[in-house]
Symmetry: C2
Subunit: 205 residues, 2 copies
DNA sequence: CTCAATATCCTGTTTTCAGGGGATTGATTG
DNA sequence: CAATCAATCCCCTGAAAACAGGATATTGAG
């Protein structure tokens, strides 16, 4: 009997694609698929696969949250993230929430099989490109900003002036200025335009 | 003999998924697939399909450009855009470049078949959701900005001050100020932060 | 408990931006 | 041809943000 796998993805083409790639693969047993988080959880109450391939974008819940929930309830299930994006923040969040690996949607059959085998052996699997991204982003990583700074950043992005922000957050305008100063410093930029640009690139807003 | 279709997409899973969805579909003849723009163009020199399903994200060329090129050389081929994103700007650009339709990657088999039939009849096909997006964005559409304004916008986004922009573009600082004023007016915002935010949302930078 | 991080507040000065006005040139187009 | 628009330039004012120095609670992890 092969490794029991299950897929959660709301894209028919992806589900069919993976089914087609793995259908006659030795050592792999296709248990079915779910199109959303809810029916995935419902399925798991009946049967448990060994590996779940899980999209990070689901209609009812983010794959990141679903990953957390599944790992909390069924510790033995290995989860492989599945996404067309090659973005470090998502990869990291999936891994933080208990995922054992991450495969891009342009993976080959070999890569898929490799991923499933690797996580079954208790190891971490990252797509080649995903691995590169992780490495690349080690240099230019997202600045670590505090909760308050993020609040201020969001309000800046929404076009509020320091004064308006101060009113909204019940703090002094000078405090807002300080947070702003720190944001500029942390992002290593020298004005608002670059700040907002960087922040969007890092997907903070 | 069915409608001859061809697929250009660099995602194995998508290609396999579509193949699986359409393989035994009556009235459709699968001609093959290409993983990039170059091999698509090479294939077209040998044979011409009636409908091409084309990803907007290709490794060597954007689907938007490829669409233009294919339509220029082979006017009779109907092109259906294929993407996981539901973004008005992409849809619009594909249609501007001669595409006959647009299908999201979470389309069902029925939707795919419908799309192919529709474009074969010389009509435009848009995915349900894509149609909604187009409608939604009719209200809040991208401002029309001039070449020069876009240049200035990019430099603002890169963190240059008016002075630096003036030097770089060999124009007076007052001219830069004017362009900036016009940008704020066109985007209907009142400061740089909002301007950059809007510009990124409209994917101008 | 201690220390570092965080959040808060202050006073200045200088630079940059926003918003108001008006004007000229050249290209396009109905 | 007249009208429109893009692109250029100019002046002015006041507001906002950036820069340079501080200082002081609070709190949370080791």
């Amino acid at each position: 009997m092969g490794t029991k796998i299950f897929i959660v993805d709301d894209h028919y083409m992806i589900v069919e694609g993976i089914r087609s790639l793995l259908q006659y693969q030795k050592g792999i047993e296709w248990m079915g698929h779910a199109m959303n988080a809810a029916s995935c959880l419902a399925f798991l109450q009946q049967e448990q696969p060994e590996v779940i391939l899980m999209d990070i974008n689901l209609p009812d819940m983010s794959g990141i949250d679903l990953c957390k929930e599944v790992k909390a309830k069924y510790k033995g299930i290995h989860i492989v993230g599945l996404s067309s994006f090659n973005q470090q923040s998502f990869i990291q969040k999936m891994l933080d929430n208990g995922a054992s690996g991450y495969v891009l949607k342009n993976a080959t059959r070999e890569e898929l099989v490799d991923a499933i085998e690797t996580v079954m052996n208790g190891k971490i699997f990252l797509s080649n490109e995903a691995e590169l991204t992780v490495k690349k982003n080690e240099d230019s990583k997202t600045p670590i900003i505090t909760r308050r700074e993020k609040e201020v950043l969001l309000l800046i992005a929404n076009g509020l002036t320091n004064n308006e922000i101060a009113v909204k957050l019940f703090i002094s305008i000078t405090t807002v200025e300080t947070h702003r100063k720190n944001l500029l410093a942390k992002f290593e930029v020298k004005n608002t335009a670059s700040l907002i640009r960087m922040a969007t690139q890092f997907q903070l807003i």
